[in-house]
Symmetry: C2
Subunit: 146 residues, 2 copies
């Protein structure tokens, strides 16, 4: 059985950028590597910025925002709306859904072809379905340990 994550061996960030028509600048390469090396990730702009700083890469927050949006347009990332306070970006761009832990604010992927949704009414006239998002909101149970 395939994991949710597609094969994505040590991200060829450079190649990906070229394909997307984005100049491989120092900042984009660094952010790309942070994002795409090592599995699926869900990040906020703020968090990625801190991570970059911590990794000794100097990038402004504005550039982090720019880059996240450009990557999203290039379909290297996907935006996930779960919380009205902040925007998450997901490195997994395949068909899937999310668990959202309301306490910690963390996200977990749910494989898209494990879930089936039936009975959806058809889209109203003059519209097309761009995407269906399923968000399973979780709360920590009172006494988790026993």
């Amino acid at each position: 059985m395939k994991p949710v994550t597609q094969d994505r061996p040590y991200s060829q960030t450079l190649t990906r950028l070229r394909e997307a028509g984005l100049r491989p600048t120092r900042q984009r390469l660094a952010l790309g590597r942070l994002l795409f090396d090592g599995g699926d990730r869900h990040v906020t702009a703020e968090a990625l910025h801190e991570e970059a700083q911590a990794a000794g890469v100097s990038v402004s927050l504005a550039t982090v925002y720019n880059t996240l949006h450009q990557f999203t347009e290039a379909h290297l990332l996907r935006e996930v709306v779960v919380d009205s306070a902040r925007t998450y970006f997901d490195t997994n761009v395949s068909d899937h859904h999310h668990f959202f832990l309301e306490n910690s604010g963390s996200l977990m992927d749910i494989d898209g072809n494990k879930i089936a949704i039936t009975g959806l009414p058809q889209a109203p006239d003059g519209t097309d379905v761009a995407r269906v998002d399923v968000i399973v909101r979780l709360q920590g149970t009172p006494r988790a340990a026993e």
Copy 2:
């Protein structure tokens, strides 16, 4: 077949407030009536504020925010997260989901018991499912009229 909306004859706003333990103030009554009279609604704080002004009710925006949150705690409203830019409040608190028209920013209800979701993995240890949200994102088709 039942419509999505439960019967809700000309909202007894006063009663609802009492039951929720909220003082029936002029502002809460007015906002309650705007919200609960006449079918299911999806509003933003800003929009409800303007509507109140237009109806000749003087309420501050802060009070609109307070009231929307208090109504939500009292389960008279439900918060819908579809757009990272603004928060929507839904007067339909029964089990249901949403179409979201990305162009206009408008929401439409999808009856909850028309849809079935199968194959959801169980919630991780120490967590409980608080709610499952399905959002069908719609885009206007290029040439809607023909």
